[in-house]
């Protein structure tokens, strides 16, 4: 899967990593629903750092469309309500 972190470029993520990311994604949806701002912040940061640490950065020379677009870390809680709803950004 090709994942774009907005403002930071694209990463290639193996299937196993995507499963884990999907779990974090679902947790974020719950946190946003429950209005837990602090925990939402740390989980979003974790989602992004996991992609960066375990994904393979895609070279600037490659021009590819992303399968998934992850919002930036400074996403506001209001914006998050529009992004992390239903099954989140990873399809279940």
């Amino acid at each position: 899967m090709i994942i774009r972190i907005m403002g930071e470029g694209q990463y290639r993520a193996p299937e196993a990593l995507c499963d884990e990311l999907n779990q974090i994604d679902n947790r974020i949806v719950d946190l946003v629903n429950e209005g837990k701002v602090e925990e939402f912040r740390s989980e979003l940061a974790r989602l992004i750092s996991q992609i960066k640490e375990r994904g393979e950065p895609i070279k600037a020379e490659e021009i590819l469309e992303s399968d998934i677009i992850v919002p930036p870390e400074d996403l506001s809680f209001e914006e998050a309500k529009n992004v992390f709803k239903g099954s989140g950004i990873f399809e279940d």
Partner: protein
């Protein structure tokens, strides 16, 4: 509309207009390439704007520090002439300025982050634009086959996403620098007028009260320190003056 949805909508709709408008796929490629060059120019301008905004804050910081030093000296002078009320006023202003310095420091860090991100985005996009240019020429050369259309769509879609991403990063940076400009102007005005009340405008009442209390206790402790210093002050000045006179005579 949320930031994230907007990104999707923006680039998808733009891409569709581009793809549908042109009858000849070669035109699509050229049109897209022109847009990319424009975007690159905009990003460069954005980086310059963030940089100058940061510079302005740094200059302002220097000015604030100078004012703080000046107020400190004024407070000392006031104590020396026994005007505790004036010293208090100067120290209160000093405390307010010190708070501004702290906030400016935080904002400088934030702008630095934004600057780094934008520079990285600019590099990514400029590499992609160069690749796109080469690919565009090769697609145009082999154009005739139906697969050219597919290749055009692929290339344009991939780079449109990058452009939408860069565009939104740019928009965020611009909003931030606008905010900074307004803030910097407000501080300038306040420094000129010499009044520094209500600077904590953005905070809630309790925060304001707390800040006031801590500023107040700082003022008290500084007053005590200055008083202690002033106790020894006059004699020392006297001997120094005598010393100068002696030297002059020689």
């Amino acid at each position: 509309m949320g930031l994230f949805k907007r990104m999707e909508t923006v680039f998808k709709s733009k891409m569709n207009t581009v793809l549908n408008r042109m009858e000849d796929p070669r035109e699509t490629l050229d049109y897209s390439y022109e847009r990319q060059l424009e975007m690159l120019q905009n990003v460069k301008r954005g980086v310059a704007e963030v940089t100058s905004s940061k510079k302005r804050l740094e200059l302002q910081r220097v000015k604030l520090i100078q004012n703080i030093d000046k107020l400190e000296k004024q407070a000392k002078d006031a104590i020396a002439v026994g005007r505790e009320d004036l010293a208090r006023l100067a120290l209160e202003r000093k405390a307010a300025l010190a708070q501004q310095v702290e906030e400016i420091d935080r904002e400088i860090v934030e702008l630095e982050k934004q600057q780094e991100k934008l520079i990285a985005s600019e590099k990514r996009l400029s590499t992609k634009v160069e690749i796109f240019r080469t690919r565009k020429e090769s697609i145009k050369a082999q154009y005739s086959a139906a697969e050219a259309q597919v290749k055009v769509n692929e290339s344009v879609t991939g780079i449109s996403e990058e452009m939408a991403d860069v565009g939104l990063a740019l928009e965020r940076a611009e909003n931030k620098t606008e905010e900074m400009k307004a803030r910097a102007e407000a501080i300038d005005e306040l420094m000129e007028a010499g009044t520094l009340e209500d600077l904590t405008g953005g905070k809630d009442k309790i925060d304001r009260e707390l800040a006031k209390i801590s500023a107040q206790s700082n003022v008290e402790s500084e007053l005590a320190r200055l008083k202690a210093e002033a106790g020894k002050g006059p004699e020392k000045t006297k001997t120094e003056e005598e010393g100068t006179e002696e030297r002059k005579e020689v």
